[in-house]
């Protein structure tokens, strides 16, 4: 019985090989995606493959890419990490060693990316991740050739830049709606990996803008009743309460804040005007919102509307984090351009090309990576007046990190 099986299998293989050359000139370049399409982090997980998938489709529709004189079509190979680190590791091992992808995008969960990098980097696979928390491992000597993160790229601005531009945007947009210059801010942040990391930068950014920030209030990640935290914030009678970073928790906390009249205005990080409109949210005080990197409900970025129309048309769900897809979409195009410029898929030549190119993306017309493989671009902040009118503007990041 066994031998028969063996014969059948090998026959099929030969046929496969024979069939293959018929499409010789359209070789396939595989791009891997690891994201949480189930489990607790699912809200961020759906956006990543949708963003990459749209870029791959656009590139293939335009005839694919021409590398070293040969034409290639891209193929996205996506894996669900189920918000479980062991599954993320297994998916990465498969993509790197079995499927042999040329590049990997993901994941949205900070500590999964760190574990995945330990597999992609030794295998010289270009790895893009939209976690500003990668700053911890992207140091000058870790990214130099031969370093342990030479092929790792952070497709989200450095945290001091994102926080700086966000803080500046929130304050400038809320001032006209408040009718006076806000002076005191209180931050309410989820007590998890991302929350702890981001809040230290945003706190410094607010201080750099001259804000008095008497308290950062950390709440346990799965909190539903925010009233004690909000009352504590109210006791400091702040001009603005800044909610960081999880959209779902923020939307749970806002009605309770309005009920308590905790502050004169609010800032909801990671809540898109699109969600604000869709859920018909309203507030009797000004509310600022920011999107990473560009908003889909309302945007001052001309290309954003076209992108999101195509993005949602492709079937992606309207989510709190739909804009996160842009942290990956632009960089598929960027990578394709780098391959064409390098004229080969050799990882080192590709990294060189990525570091020298100025790519025209949706988020900005001049996307470049700095020497430590981190991108720099503006962040969009919007503000909703009590009446409901929403205005947005792109905020340029500060040149370098604030002192102290």
């Amino acid at each position: 019985m066994k031998t028969v099986l063996k014969m059948g299998a090998s026959a099929a293989l030969c046929l496969g090989v024979l069939a293959h050359p018929a499409f010789a000139e359209d070789n396939i370049v595989k791009i891997g995606v690891v994201a949480a399409e189930s489990g607790s982090f699912v809200s961020a997980g759906h956006t990543l493959p949708a963003g990459v998938g749209l870029a791959v489709k656009q590139i293939n529709d335009a005839g694919g890419i021409n590398v070293g004189g040969k034409n290639y079509k891209l193929e996205m190979v996506k894996r669900d990490d189920r918000t479980d680190i062991a599954t993320a590791i297994a998916a990465t091992q498969e993509l790197v060693r079995d499927v042999k992808v040329q590049a990997i995008f993901g994941s949205e969960t900070h500590d999964f990316t760190l574990a995945m990098a330990k597999i992609t980097q030794p295998a010289k696979i270009i790895h893009f991740a939209g976690n500003s928390t990668l700053a911890k491992i992207l140091t000058p000597d870790s990214v130099k050739p031969g370093g342990e993160d030479h092929y790792l790229f952070q497709s989200e601005p450095q945290e001091f830049q994102r926080s700086g531009s966000t803080a500046r945007g929130v304050l400038t947009l809320l001032e006209p709606l408040l009718g006076y210059k806000p002076k005191k801010s209180v931050m309410i942040v989820g007590n998890d990996a991302t929350g702890q990391f981001l809040s230290s930068y945003y706190f410094k950014a607010l201080k750099a803008e001259g804000q008095d920030v008497p308290d950062i209030i950390f709440y346990p990640p799965d909190t539903t009743d925010f009233s004690p935290f909000l009352t504590r914030a109210k006791s400091l009678n702040p001009d603005i309460i800044h909610f960081w970073y999880n959209g779902d928790s923020t939307l749970t906390a806002l009605p309770q804040a309005l009920e308590l009249g905790a502050a004169k205005s609010y800032f909801l990080f990671g809540v898109d005007p699109g969600i604000w409109k869709e859920k018909q949210l309203s507030a009797d005080v000004p509310v600022a919102m920011s999107c990473v990197p560009v908003c889909w409900g309302e945007s001052s970025n001309p290309k954003a509307k076209a992108y999101f129309d195509a993005y949602f048309a492709a079937g992606a769900p309207h989510g709190v984090t739909s804009s996160v897809s842009l942290l990956y979409h632009d960089y598929v195009h960027f990578l394709a351009e780098a391959w064409e410029k390098a004229g080969s898929f050799d990882p080192d030549k590709t990294v060189e090309a990525l570091l020298t190119l100025h790519h025209q993306g949706v988020v900005s017309d001049d996307l470049t990576f700095n020497p430590t493989h981190q991108v720099t671009h503006a962040t969009e902040v919007c503000a909703a007046a009590p009446g409901g009118a929403i205005s947005c503007s792109m905020q340029q990041p500060p040149a370098e990190a604030p002192k102290s």
Binding site: Y219, P220, S227, P228, T231, R232, L251, Q256
Partner: protein, 290 residues
């Protein structure tokens, strides 16, 4: 000063939802010995039923009644179908409830996706008294909890049914010998505890959005309160619920906010070591009829 009163009010509304769960736990665990760790999921399903009813256009009061009936019925089916066979070995009942946690959570995820679900607030008026904001919906939750506590307290202690129930806890065999239909009472208590969880779920979704996984964190606090108060002791559950609600409210408000969840666990461990039968004395589950 108004901040202090505001924090007490916040503590009260947290305490009332936790107390509702704790009463259900203390009744079921204390009086029937069934360790139903899936009690949090009963609460969540109460919320989901309310959400389904409200989004189907029903009014909130009707939705709450539906939630109570639905979860009470679920309690009946599960007690008759599963827990009835584990009375002699409570640890098996506990393991069955672990399986139920996984099943109930993921059945809800399967049918109604894992995202947050919320309903428009049934009462939206917010009174302002001297700087203290009092939300009518929270007052409603506190009022309903007080009413339910009074009702079940009277029923368990004062009525004939209550006395028979407590007798069946002391010694199941003797109670049966005295003609008390012990089996029927255990089912009755389980259904009552489940209905309370259904009500708790309905009130919870009236206050905040819930997800299929909300039950998990809530049940631990419910068990902590039930154990701190003393199993089977409703008075204990209410007192411990208040203590924990206020402690959590003040820890979030004044103390180290990131440690808020730690207090209920630390308090429970401390109390169980010092007084295994809880602060106000309760049973340690019925004597095994071995």
């Amino acid at each position: 000063m108004d901040i202090f009163i505001q924090q007490i009010l916040n503590g009260l509304s947290i305490a009332s939802v936790i107390t509702l769960i704790a009463i259900g736990v203390t009744l079921i665990f204390g009086l029937t010995g069934i360790i139903n760790f899936a009690h949090g999921e009963f609460l969540m399903i109460g919320g989901i039923v309310t959400w389904l009813a409200v989004s189907a256009g029903l009014g909130f009061p009707l939705a709450v009644v539906l939630a109570i009936l639905a979860v009470g019925l679920m309690g009946y089916i599960l007690e008759r179908g599963l827990f009835r066979f584990t009375l002699e070995r409570p640890t098996n009942g506990f393991i069955v409830s672990l399986g139920l946690i996984v099943v109930l959570q993921h059945v809800v995820v399967l049918f109604w996706n894992p995202n947050q679900k919320s309903i428009p607030r049934p009462l939206t008026t917010v009174w302002e008294v001297g700087g203290v904001r009092i939300a009518s919906v929270r007052v409603m939750v506190i009022a309903i909890t007080i009413a339910v506590v009074a009702l079940s307290f009277r029923m368990i202690t004062a009525s004939r049914y209550g006395r028979a129930l407590r007798a069946s806890v002391e010694d199941r065999d003797t109670a049966a010998l005295m003609g008390i239909p012990v089996r029927r009472y255990i089912t009755g208590v389980f259904v009552l505890g489940s209905a309370l969880a259904g009500l708790g779920g309905a009130l919870l979704i009236a206050l905040f959005p819930i997800t299929p996984f909300t039950g998990g964190t809530m049940v631990m606090k419910g068990f902590a309160v039930a154990l701190i108060g003393g199993l089977g002791n409703i008075y204990g559950a209410v007192a411990a619920g208040l203590i924990l609600g206020i402690v959590e409210g003040f820890s979030a408000g004044y103390g180290f906010s990131q440690w808020t969840d730690a207090y209920s666990f630390a308090l429970m461990i401390l109390v169980l070591i010092v007084r295994p039968h809880g602060l106000f004395g309760g049973t340690s589950g019925p004597r095994m009829a071995s």
